[in-house]
């Protein structure tokens, strides 16, 4: 048992070490960036009309006059203690704010990913009936969806579903912990908009993957055995196509997290994309840095899970 799990441990630890290095690099860059800005960081935050006393006070609190490496080390120390201080303007604990906003973005991203999974069965069906009507229709729809930028989808959908049909609210938010039903109602449109590209993309990749897999010799063998099409698709074609599908899902998730600000700012959803947008605008450097760090951590975890998924799916991959 331990022996068979050993390669996984090794794989995870290699990826963890890489992840930590990437994390250090990105967060250090974030610290360094703030000192590259013209004038001092404190000047940048407080604006042109700040008095020397105000700047001195901010420097005393946040250490913006210290060399970059010193500031970075002290930030790391704060991080290890689990206390990143407070946001510059609303003076709320940064860690709490970031985690709360991240939860919102995650909810939307995961729901959008769940919605996009519908692309897989559609891909199975159309791949096993290639160039039939359904295949052609789905191919056209996915081409159109992929060509339309997210912000156009957002505008169109909110016009259609919120203004014309009035199924979902155009903006607003309710916390899941306070009112789950209202939360789902508010979240529906952002999720739908965010999932469109992912569904189309996942559908395309999965369809091509299934078409290739269905030409394999072992599929001919399965057909010669007289196995029903549905059985062949789910028991012989799905797993070989899974590594590609998993790659796309991993990319989609990171893409959705990175691109969440479009949807979040349009629908006024208090997620992480919306937060970083306003943090950058108001030069809230500590908040920006915290969000960047969290994003890196999430990306590393997602890619690690994808890698792990490969090993679980393909019996031949015994983890590099």
């Amino acid at each position: 048992m331990l022996n068979s799990a050993m390669p996984y441990f090794r794989a995870i630890s290699t990826r963890l070490i890489t992840g930590v290095l990437v994390f250090l690099l990105v967060t250090f860059s974030a610290t360094a960036l703030s000192s590259l800005a013209p004038g001092s960081a404190a000047q940048l935050i407080l604006g042109d009309y700040a008095t020397p006393e105000q700047i001195a006070a901010l420097n005393a609190q946040y250490g913006y006059d210290l060399p970059v490496w010193q500031r970075y080390l002290s930030w790391l120390g704060d991080l290890l203690r689990g206390d990143l201080g407070v946001t510059l303007f609303s003076q709320q604990p940064i860690l709490g704010v970031v985690l709360e906003r991240a939860a919102v973005t995650f909810e939307i991203a995961f729901l959008a990913m769940a919605v996009s999974l519908i692309g897989i069965p559609i891909a199975m069906y159309t791949a096993s009936h290639p160039n039939k009507l359904g295949d052609k229709v789905m191919r056209s729809i996915s081409t159109v969806l992929l060509a339309v930028p997210t912000f156009v989808i957002v505008v169109l959908f909110s016009y259609l579903f919120a203004m014309v049909l009035r199924w979902f609210p155009a903006t607003g938010w309710a916390k899941f912990t306070e009112n789950p039903v209202a939360n789902l109602w508010y979240v529906a449109l952002p999720v739908l908009c965010l999932s469109m590209h992912q569904t189309a993309y996942l559908y395309r990749v999965a369809r091509n993957e299934f078409v290739t897999t269905l030409q394999e010799d072992y599929i001919a063998v399965a057909r010669a055995k007289g196995l029903p099409l549905g059985y062949i698709l789910f028991h012989h074609a799905l797993r070989p196509a899974m590594p590609q599908i998993l790659t796309v899902m991993g990319l989609s998730l990171t893409y959705m997290l990175a691109g969440s600000f479009v949807v979040e700012s349009y629908f006024a959803v208090p997620g992480i994309g919306w937060t970083i947008l306003s943090a950058v605008k108001s030069h809230d450097i500590p908040l920006v840095q915290a969000i960047l760090s969290l994003t890196v951590v999430i990306f590393v975890i997602v890619f690690m899970l994808v890698d792990l998924g490969y090993a679980l799916i393909d019996p031949r991959v015994k983890v590099s």
């Binding site: 057909r223 010669a224 007289g226 019996p315």
Partner: protein, 341 residues
């Protein structure tokens, strides 16, 4: 017409397969006729591209899309072409086991071999999980895999080519089929392994009282292992008869050429028999007469113009399509020729 005991397992009558191409319909197989009786073995031989695999696939109903099959194919009296595709697939899956050429790609690398062996049994015969498992393990040991209990959970990449082909054979046997088809089942294997697997097939056929079709480009493979032999050339049957008779007394000029060019066992698959000069026929541009005429040393004018009809030899089951067949040898003293073993 036939009693249960003598009704053919498989018969093809006037079977023709066409495939559309840019230059019009291609006749990949033309007017194939043969019958295979219970417990008998049929060898199908011919050069690469002769249509051996197409014949097998057309019978199984797994030919590539666009292949039209005409004529009549009967499996135990059932007209296969009259069945709905789904019913046909089920019937074939239940009654016919097939082993393909390449064991490396014929097993799904993502599925445990035990599952791949038993699945057809679960679906066609409603075996329970436990029954299926014990039957799969039994078959694994029957085809000669060491530690069948452990092997059940292994994945294909954990086996060698010869072992994989044994696993394919086990999978082909799960529904206790009446007919086993091996399409170049050993061509991808090492010479020594080839012989082992061929011997295994022969043993299985005898022990399980099945019929068998052994497809090969190599006459040596079918020589001692089949009762009848069908020689394909360019999608036509050029000679068909009892194996011993055809070997002892070939009548068609192509069969003769094949026999004198009999390749060694270790020749790789799809190699052209270099000792027969010339190219196999171009299906898009068939000669009007005998398909072998452009390469035949004995061809006369009529060969290029008129398709030779099937004629019978002295042995009542021996047929060939040649205008100028080789001379019939005098029959040996005892009437029935013993099968070459």
């Amino acid at each position: 017409m036939y009693s249960e005991a003598t009704r053919p397992i498989l018969s093809c009558a006037a079977m023709t397969c066409e495939m559309d191409s840019v230059s019009g319909p291609l006749q990949i197989l033309q007017d194939i006729n043969f019958t295979l009786a219970p417990r008998r073995a049929l060898g199908i031989v011919g050069e690469s591209g002769a249509g051996k695999s197409m014949l097998v696939k057309a019978i199984m109903g797994i030919a590539p899309k666009g292949l039209k099959t005409m004529g009549r194919i009967e499996l135990e009296g059932q007209d296969l072409l009259a069945l709905k595709p789904r019913d046909r697939a089920r019937l074939i899956g239940r009654k016919v086991g097939i082993v393909f050429q390449n064991p490396m790609t014929s097993l799904n690398p993502f599925v445990q071999i035990g599952r791949q062996i038993e699945e057809a049994g679960c679906i066609h015969m409603g075996l329970s999980k436990a029954e299926a498992r014990s039957r799969a393990i039994e078959l694994l040991s029957f085809v000669g895999l060491p530690d069948p209990e452990d092997c059940y959970d292994y994945y294909p990449h954990q086996f060698s080519g010869g072992m994989k082909q044994r696993i394919m054979i086990a999978a082909a046997l799960i529904c206790q089929p009446d007919l086993l088809i091996a399409d170049e089942a050993t061509t991808a294997l090492d010479v020594t392994v080839q012989k082992e697997v061929l011997d295994l097939l022969q043993t299985i056929q005898a022990e399980r009282q099945m019929s068998m079709i052994l497809v090969s480009h190599n006459l040596g493979v079918v020589a001692g292992r089949t009762d009848e032999i069908l020689v394909l050339y360019g999608g036509n049957v050029v000679e068909y008869g009892p194996t011993a008779e055809v070997f002892r007394n070939p009548r068609h000029r192509y069969t003769e050429a094949l026999l004198s060019a009999m390749p060694a066992m270790d020749q790789p698959a799809h190699t052209r028999l270099r000792t027969i000069p010339g190219q196999p026929p171009n299906l898009a541009n068939r000669p009007a007469g005998c398909p072998f005429a452009p390469r035949c040393p004995s061809a006369q004018a009529i060969c290029h113009e008129v398709m030779p009809p099937m004629s019978a030899g002295i042995h009542p089951d021996h047929r060939f399509a040649c205008h100028f067949p080789l001379a019939e040898l005098p029959r040996p003293a005892q009437q029935e020729v013993a099968h070459v073993q």
